[in-house]
Symmetry: C2
Subunit: 348 residues, 2 copies
């Protein structure tokens, strides 16, 4: 409880022991130009020896805290594990520490976590929650460098990294159509997450689903089911869909976590066991042989690395907005199969 109990080495201690000025030590720490290799070596050896660590809040008062903050809407969604793995690997050789502020999805849209990080003087922000207002982010980006992950914004003040959702859904729908499916239902989140023009991945996936159905002459078979998010909610929504009398031969869920909930529900309905199921993201679980979920792979690790590298570029001075689009890839597995034609029943 007494902060003074263990005495920390100060920058003066390091300067004295290394026989250099305080300013020289500061230069080495900041990785500034104009430091000779021998000076760097000497100072770094003393830093190591004294276990010196700059006090971040002291640094915060006048500039860099060497902290990047990431707001994370749903730690249970395994796609974020892929993003985070890419981000931490990219930071391994950098002097920056990533800190994550988790968002309680039931009680916040991400504002609180982003503000909390900014208040803690992080040097840059990674925003993930799809429901944070782009105007708010533009405003925030005047104070702090921001990269938005996952949402298709045409921002001027911050960067974006997204997957190409339209092409991903296109590949998946093509796959289902080639398997003979016509009554393809789409399970997605509530209206707030899929509002057209909002740039959220789920709004683009929904629009691409509907467009493909129309192009295939299947407009009358368009069927959109909704859930609150999470595996259990998708499970319940699937049971409700089937109870309503709908008989899709395939269900495309807007992300893998939902698709895994659909698979869970179908085990309770032996009469619906022929329904094909597909998801989006290609999380680890999708590839388990007992799950075998067809999905669209988003290169999460690469996207996580991109986010970090864009943020570091901004910290190095870039101010023009960059918008990166990652290419998705179809991964067919056992959960999608050719449509079984039911004898004696005309379905189309």
């Amino acid at each position: 409880m007494t902060p003074e109990a263990v005495k920390r080495a100060t920058i003066e201690d390091v300067a004295r022991r290394a026989g250099v000025s305080r300013a020289a030590v500061s230069k080495v720490i900041r990785g500034a130009y104009g430091v000779s290799a021998s000076m760097r070596e000497r100072v770094e050896a003393v830093i190591e020896e004294l276990d010196y660590r700059p006090l971040i809040s002291a640094r915060g008062m006048r500039g860099a805290t060497f902290t990047l903050g990431m707001e994370l809407p749903d730690i249970a969604n395994q796609f974020f594990a892929r993003i985070l793995s890419g981000a931490t690997t990219a930071l391994e050789t950098e002097p920056y520490q990533l800190v994550i502020a988790p968002v309680d999805p039931d009680h916040s849209e991400g504002y609180r976590a982003l503000e909390a990080l900014a208040d803690r003087q992080v040097d840059g922000l990674i925003a993930v929650s799809p429901r944070v207002d782009p105007r708010w982010l533009e405003e925030m980006s005047r104070r702090i460098p921001i990269v938005m992950l996952g949402r298709h914004d045409s921002s001027v003040g911050y960067d974006t990294v997204v997957g190409d959702d339209v092409s991903g859904v296109g590949m998946l729908m093509q796959h289902l159509l080639e398997l003979g499916h016509r009554e393809i239902a789409h399970l997605t989140l509530d209206d707030q997450h899929t509002r057209q023009g909002s740039g959220t991945p789920h709004s683009l996936r929904l629009a691409a689903y509907e467009a493909t159905m129309r192009e295939a002459g299947l407009e009358s078979s368009i069927q959109v089911a909704r859930c609150d998010g999470g595996e259990d909610s998708a499970h319940q929504a699937t049971l409700r869909l089937l109870a309503s009398g709908a008989r899709p031969t395939a269900i495309f869920a807007a992300h893998d976590e939902l698709a895994i909930g659909v698979l869970s529900a179908l085990t309770q309905r032996p009469d619906a066991s022929e329904i094909s199921v597909a998801g989006y993201d290609n999380i680890k679980q999708a590839g388990h042989p007992l799950i075998g979920l067809t999905s669209v792979d988003q290169p999460g690790e690469q996207m996580g690395a991109s986010v970090v590298s864009l943020l570091l570029e901004r910290l190095a001075g870039r101010t023009d907005a960059v918008h990166e689009v990652a290419t998705p890839r179809l991964v067919p597995r056992s959960s999608t199969r050719p449509r079984i034609r039911t004898k004696g029943v005309t379905r189309s």
Copy 2:
């Protein structure tokens, strides 16, 4: 890029508008005693109105930052999602923000993340990595309040929250023995994670497995397989175990992520499909009907809430160490079945 671009309300602005002193505003923010209900209401209304947020690094210079730091060794392990859910729910009505420093499991034992959080002046630390030296934590706990989650330490300077691993393994082994299994193998992590006396959950689970086998007169059937951690590594270790000629009738994996890797490997070995599999933690995935993994439930949400409440108690002045033990519960599912006796082969 210009911090002044958006003008923030200051504590002086709040004091002026509320017609109180700066010290009174500060008291309300800190939740200090001696503030009347009406004063609190008035000040909080103005704080809301002006969207005032104390600048954390300014606070850091003289005390509380209202930040709790958590070091997280493996975000891909879904048990941490349960812990985190409990911790964030417990903090919902508190003025503290949780920030998480992820640990790259390949390149760090948790020290770097914990030091990074302490350097960022968090008010309290939640340590999770089982390999951080208890002596180091004791030393650190003289500077900052710490709660260690998951490891059985007899600390004096910090608190611990653990599951009762011995009783959990006891229930699970009893279940397997009652199903008729005798050749029960244990899959765990490498030696560094299971060293006796280290207090790690995996060392206790291994010891409890071996003790139960001995008590059941099955000492000669003790078989311990090792892997590096993660589903893929467990998958490979299972294939190696079977290739070695071992024929366990049940495999107890030290946590669910490993057990799910075992299940994956067994799908490649139709000759081994009768092997029962059990895990530990009861992560979400274990309960999926296509996985159906028997597991030992640890109350992760409750443990996450306990960690937060112990840390808040320390911030309120408690200095004696508290050691909490959560009670586990067996959750039998389809992955464990009665042993099938192989005709013509004597196994014991």
